[in-house]
Every structure is written in C-alpha cells, then in structure tokens.
C-alpha cells in the first residue's frame, strides 16, 4: 500500500507541495469567512502553527485568503490548529489594552480519542487503532450526530478524521458559535454517560426513568454491539475480559450471569430497575468525550486538512452517508497524494500546456482533483453549500434591517 510508504522525515519535502498545490484554500476560506455575514470574522480568527523542530507559534491571523495562502506556503507548518474569533486581530494582541483582548466566538467542538477507551478494548491500546476498534468511532459519531441534530437542533456538523486515533466534530451553526463556556460545558455533560477515572470500576449507572437521549443512544449501541463486542472484541472469549464484564454485574445474580449474558445482550430486555446489561453495553461502547476540549471558547483544535505528522494522514472530513464503510487506513497520506499528483502531472504535461495556450489566459487548476483528496474536498463543498444557504438568509435579513435596497 502506498500509504505505508509515508516517512515522517520526508515532510519537509512534501509539505511545500501540499500547500502549494493541494490544500483547498478557497474552500477553507469560504468556510471560515462564514459568508461575510459578520465583519472581520476571518480577520479576527486565531490560527496556531507547529513548525519544524516543534516550534509552536500562536496568535496567527490573516486579512485575506491570499495572505493565508502566502503565509502557509512560506512557513510550511507541520500542524495547524484553529482557535477562536477574538475581539481584535490575534496577531496584534500585544498592542491591545490588557484585559480587552478576548475570545468571543468559536465552533462548538468535540474530540473523541481512542485512548480514552483503553480500558474496554482488547485489540489495541494507546495510539494504535485497527478496524475492530474503529467501530467505537462509528458508534460515537452516530450517537453524537443524532443528539446534536435532533436534541439540540444543530444542523451544520463537520466530522473530521483526526489523522491517527480519533475524530473531531465541528458544530458550525451560528447559535453554536455564540455559545458561552457554561453552555458548552452543559452540552458536553448532557452527552456524557461515562463517569469516573482509574479509581472507578463501574462507570455507567442508569436509574429510572431512562431519559429519551439514553434510549436513543442505546438503540445505536444495540445495533452494533453483538457484532462488535461479542465477535470483534470477543469480550466473553477470554478470562480477563469475562472477569471485567462480571465485575460490573451486581453480586446477587452473579451465579446465573455467565449463561445469561449473551442472550440478554441480544434480547435487550430490561427488568424494571435492573439495567445492568444496558450499563455494560454502554460502558463498552458509549462515546467518551473530553469535556475540557468542548468547554473552552479559546480552545485550539487541529484544523481539517491538516497533516498528522506521525502518520502522514490528512485530517479529512467524513461523509456520514458512507460512515459504515469509512476506513481510516484508506485515508490518503500526504505522500500518497503528492505521488498521485506527480504521476498525473507526467501524464498531463502535454495536454495541459495545450489548453493553456489555446485559452490564452490562466486557468485555475484544481490539482487536488487529480488525487484521492478529491472526494473529501467535494464532500466539504457540499457541507459548505448547505451552510451558504443560511448565510444568504442572514445577509438578506441584515440588509433589510439596514434598509438597503
């Protein structure tokens, strides 16, 4: 597989090509400008770059798409993070009177990291992932996406593969961007069911009545659970994991549990007040969020289309319509797409030269279309189109208010 050819040492050579030819700047700007509805929205946005040798620079900001392109092509950042929209241009924050430079708005974000599931996955640990435990991400996305849309009413959600071991969600609705710290933390806690650290054995406790949110989430888990936990993770197959499962069951029915468990999971019947089989399923599969990531308005999060320096994978948006077949190992690496670009270039040099001469003017060539990155950018475009419809409405409303005819 070409992706396994990625070598972190080649980043300095690949990044310039990536930022010159492949990074989808116009879509990126279109996103972060949010239709120009609010003044200086793009200009006041903080970016942070991690450069070669782990040099980290914060409070980067840009006035135009062009400036952003030029800077990124000059600096060739290894990592890009997106922060908040501030009251002033971040790159001028030192000139602002102390106390008045403040983070005002930002997308509501979520970060699901596979390491947070280490206590319940047997196939991998730490930074590793495989197709067996990737199902956990699928479950997490389904549950959270449903809740954010149906319960909270958000519409513009961008799910992004982090490049190694997790996914991020960017909620881009205007209402989401304006949420306070307290509101973000409340949303994150509403979505949290797993409580407790190293010192807690039983991390999910359900009591009557079961909230509709939990029911909906359980429905998702139950769809995936039999195949995932019993086959892929094989939680009843080895003594240690059986013991782990048993430690979550109340003592007074322990003696019948071993025979009982498998059929209980599959039937999903609940005795009144005894929800332990649901609790077990949830403890194994329910998404684990880091509330601190979601809480802060000024929190910096890895940017979509950023490269993951260790794996070389591009942080691509995930199309939820194809979620069940999403394969993190098929996500293009920077070396792959650079290679694809080279290949195509060789084949096309003659024809592209001719078309330029014929048209007599510069035609903007979207090089990413020649690579595996294309379909992800296309999906991103669709996401932006949907949002654009709401910006149009906003702009109309604003001009009405100002009585501009």
């Amino acid at each position: 597989m070409p992706s396994s050819d990625y070598d972190p040492a080649s980043l300095p050579d690949l990044l310039p090509l990536y930022y010159r030819r492949l990074f989808p700047f116009s879509q990126y700007y279109r996103w972060l400008n949010y239709g120009g509805v609010q003044k200086n929205y793009f200009q006041n946005r903080e970016f942070s770059f991690t450069l070669k040798d782990d040099i980290y620079v914060r409070y980067q900001s840009f006035t135009t798409q062009n400036e952003l392109e030029k800077e990124m092509q000059k600096m060739n950042p290894y990592k890009i993070d997106i922060g908040a929209i501030y009251s002033h241009r971040p790159n001028q924050h030192n000139t602002v009177k102390s106390g008045t430079f403040q983070a005002l708005e930002k997308e509501l974000v979520f970060d699901i990291d596979m390491t947070d599931y280490d206590d319940v996955r047997s196939c991998c640990s730490a930074a590793d992932i495989c197709c067996k435990c990737w199902t956990l991400m699928t479950i997490a996305i389904r549950i959270l996406d449903r809740a954010l849309r149906e319960d909270f009413g958000f519409q513009h959600l961008l799910w992004v593969y982090s490049g190694r071991r997790g996914v991020h969600c960017w909620v881009c609705d205007e209402a989401a961007r304006k949420l306070s710290v307290a509101a973000r933390s409340a949303v994150a806690e509403y979505l949290s069911l797993i409580k407790g650290g190293e010192e807690t054995v039983k991390k999910v406790v359900l009591t009557d009545p079961i909230h509709p949110f939990i029911r909906e989430s359980l429905a998702v888990v139950e769809r995936y659970f039999p195949r995932y936990a019993l086959q892929e993770q094989d939680i009843l197959g080895r003594k240690e994991s059986v013991d782990k499962v048993l430690s979550l069951v109340p003592e007074d029915i322990l003696f019948t549990v071993y025979l009982w468990l498998q059929s209980l999971f599959l039937q999903a019947t609940a005795k009144k007040g005894q929800y332990f089989e649901k609790e077990i399923m949830l403890q194994y599969c329910y998404p684990r969020l880091d509330v601190n990531v979601s809480k802060g308005v000024n929190h910096l999060l890895k940017s979509p289309f950023s490269v993951h320096p260790k794996t070389g994978r591009i942080s691509v948006p995930i199309n939820l319509k194809e979620l069940d077949v999403f394969d993190p190992f098929a996500v293009p690496t920077i070396s792959l797409i650079c290679e694809e670009l080279d290949r195509k270039k060789e084949n096309n040099t003659e024809s592209s030269g001719r078309s330029l001469a014929q048209k007599g003017k510069m035609v903007k060539t979207y090089y990413y279309k020649r690579t595996t990155l294309a379909k992800y950018v296309k999906y991103f475009d669709q996401f932006l189109d949907a949002m654009a419809r709401s910006w149009k409405g906003e702009l109309l409303r604003k001009s009405d208010l100002q009585k501009e005819f």
Binding site: D54, T115, D116, Y117, D118, D119, E150, D151, F152, G153, F154, A175, L179, S180, A182, A183, S185, A186, V187, E189, Y190, I194, K195, G196, G197, E198, E199, T200, V201, K202, K203, D208, P209, I210, H211, P212, F213, I214, R215, R288, D290, V291, N292
Partner: protein, 514 residues
Amino acid sequence: MQFMSRQKKLLPNSHTELYGQCLQFYGQPPLENIALSEFETFAVERLKLLKTVENLGVSYVKLSEQYTKKLDQESKNLNFPYRADADDRKSQSGPSEIEKRRKDHISHFILRLAYCQTEDLRRWFIQQEVDLFRYRFSYLSSKQKLEFLHKNNLQYDAISVEEKKALQDKLVNSSYAVSGITVEDQDFYKVPFQDALDLVRTRKVYLKAGYVYIPHQDIVTIILNDFRTRLSKALALTARSLPAVHSDERLQPLLNHLSHAYVGQDYSIQKNVGKISLEQIDSLSGKSFPLCMRQLHQALRENHHLRHGGRMQYGLFLKGIGLSLEQALQFWRSEFIRGKVDADKFDKAYAYSIRHMFGKEGKRTDYTPYSCMKVILSNPPSQGDHHGCPFRHSDPELLKQKLQFYKVSPSGISQILELVKGMHYQLACQKYFELTHNIEDITFSLNHPNQYFVESQKVLGGGKDIKREMDTPQRSQENSGRGSAAAREAAAAANASQHLAEMTEELDSFFQDA
C-alpha cells in the same frame, strides 16, 4: 451622589414599593444615603450569612430540611428576610420586614464592590448568592413565582395541549418528577436550551431541536440561571467602576478586609520556600499529604506520568508546601524521564506549563493551589485521571481498599465511608487526618489540601517555624499595612477607627471558628 433631586422622592414610604416582594434580582442599586456604620454592619452581616450558606451547602443537601431550618435560623438571627409571610405580624421588637429587605438590598450591593475584583472572588460570591436565592425562591407560592417571572421579563411560550399529548411519553421519561398527571395538569413551557443549562447539564429535562420542555413547577432552574448570568455581568461592570470607589478612603479598608475574609488562607503567597527537599517528598506523602495528593504522588511514581488535571492539582499543591520553581522542574523532569518522555520533549512540552503555574509565562498569573471546594466541585476525573477528591470521586469499594492498604483501622474506615455516603467529603478527610495522626478531635475545619499539610506538620512537631507564620491573620501582608494606615488617616473621629478595628477582630474570630 448625583441624583440629589431624585433622592427627595425616595423617602422611607416609597420603600414599601421598592421592597414589595421578598425576593429580588438586585437589578437596581440603592440610591439613598446611609451612615457609614450601617454600611459596615450590613456588609459584615451579609458576609456571615453567605458564609453560612457556603458551609451548609457542603454539609447538607441543599433545600433539605436541616439545610433550610439552619438557614432560617441564621437569617432570623442576622435580620435578613427569607420568607414573605415570616414573622411580620409577630415581631414586636426588631426590624420590620421592609427594613430587612432594605438591608438585604443594600448589603448585596456593598458586597458586589468587595467581590468583583478577581475571578475567584466573583465565582464564590455568585455561587453563594445563587444558593441563597434558590433557598428563598423555594418559599414562594406558584402564583408568586409566576408574578416573579413576568415582573422580570422572562416570557416563555407554553405548548399546546395537542403537542403535550404527543410528547407525553418523552416528557414523563425525561424527568423523575414528571408523571402522566403532571403532563395533563400543568402547562409546559418551551425554553431555549441556553436558558436552562442546569437542567440540560444533568439531563433532567426533555430536549428537542434546541428547546427544553419544562413544567411550570421547574421554572425555578431557569430563573436561577438568569440570576446567575445577570449577576455575573453586573460584577464585570462593577469591577470597571472600582477605581472610583477605592478613592473613597472610608470604604477601601473595609472592602479589602471583606474580600480577604471569605476564604481564609489561599496559600497563594509562598511561605517556607525551599524548606522542603525533594528527597523528603516520598516520606512526606505518606505522613502529611491529604489522601488526594498522596494518591497523585503514588500514581506519578508508578506511571512516571500524570495527565493535565493531575499535574495542575498536584503541582500547585507542591508549590503551596514550598517547592521552588527550580525544585519543581527537577522533580517533574526526573520522574517523567523515567517514563516515556525524553528530556527534550519534557523541556519543550511540560516545562512550559510548570513555569506557567509559577506565574513565569503567559498571563503571568500566579496560580493558587486548589481548595477542597475546587477539587470537589470542578473538573471531575475521567479515564486515565488520578486527580479529584478520593472521598468524592472514588468508588467506595476502591476507597476502602486504599484505606486498608494505608493501614487505617476497620472501624475508622467504616466511619469514613459513612461520612462519604452522607456527602461530607471534607469531614471524611478530617477523619482520615485524625486516624492517621492518632488524635481524637482536630481543632481546625478542613477546606484546603495545603491546610492539611500545614496542620499535619504542626502535629508531627515540625511546626515551630510554620506556626509563627500561621499567626499572621487571614489577610495578605501588603493589604493589612495599607488598611491600617488608611484607617488611621481616614477616620474622622477616633471612634470610627475603633469601630472598624472591633469589627475586623470580630470578623476574624468568626471565620476562625467556622
């Protein structure tokens, strides 16, 4: 002040209009003149009330019978209003209900001046005022509650009967308190979720498309949220006008003293820097660290790593017991290097945050070690974390094993577990202190991990130096100097400054007893 002509209208008889309701949002500041002595008394008494609110909130479930009874008593003793129908007819002596409400109004605004200056002070003040408000609100009838809503411009829409029927199951299953009958009998209101964060956070309500559906009976949470937000904004505004207030020399000493009195020592000023060597830490962790820090230290030694929450809680504690920045860097570095982190990575990634803790980076805020309240109430630990309060955050079974491992007697363990069950986490920690130091009854009320350490060192006899430094009363050294000089200067008459001195003594002793 400026509104001379208007003041003529605000005579005592218009107080009846101003103070028509027992409860208020404190939207309008008082506009009358009051005597300096009244200013001082009002402020101190409200502070006592809020301190009681805080203590009761830690020891009892809020709004439980014991909680309300004790708070009723304290409100009565201090002459604050708490119930619309309370005692107005009965009391012959003592202030009238209107006078109590006036005191309530004025004292609130005075304390705003004292508590708006830092994030910590604001957070504390808001928390106690919200709890006080919740307690008083619980005494209003449904009619009075509705009146309150409308008077304060909280108009939320009720949903139609058809919609209620359609959502009936979901509504019943969303809240323990909502039954089929509730749905039939009561109006349900559609409220944007941003206005009902407490209910959303605890998932005690039905949420659909960004709106929560709240029965009339639960409107209180909305109101509390609104109160909290308004107060928060108001405090930010107050902070900006503070320089003008501080220029009045009569007020400055009192306000300073008030704001330092609430929390006692916050261990922000490092004493005994460098008196502790790194080699002592292992043995100190067993003898003088509270359980939370002992746990963190052990996890650090075992895993050669701690996550962010643990680094903050433990790192600041170590700063509080006297580790210097150099020592701290050496301590963390040597431990992390034994793990997966190499020296380079440590210097790049972790050293920065340690220097940050000591106020040498970024905002240069000198972070203060976490109090028990902060450890218990904020940032609960999740997978992979070891911070938090073990009495609050650990599984009782695991806590028991841990105490057994630390050789606490079985009877002691069950006493501790009883306290934990009753949610008396700090009392449980005090019990742990008593058991591990072999003393019967400790003389202090535990509210800070560093306090635990200092008291432990005292008991174990290391204490002469430490004891001397403990004797400086609970205010920072610079302010006490400023305060007394200003008082001497500003006091027009000798008895004014004497009054202040008496009151500050009284305040000190009150808080030491607490």
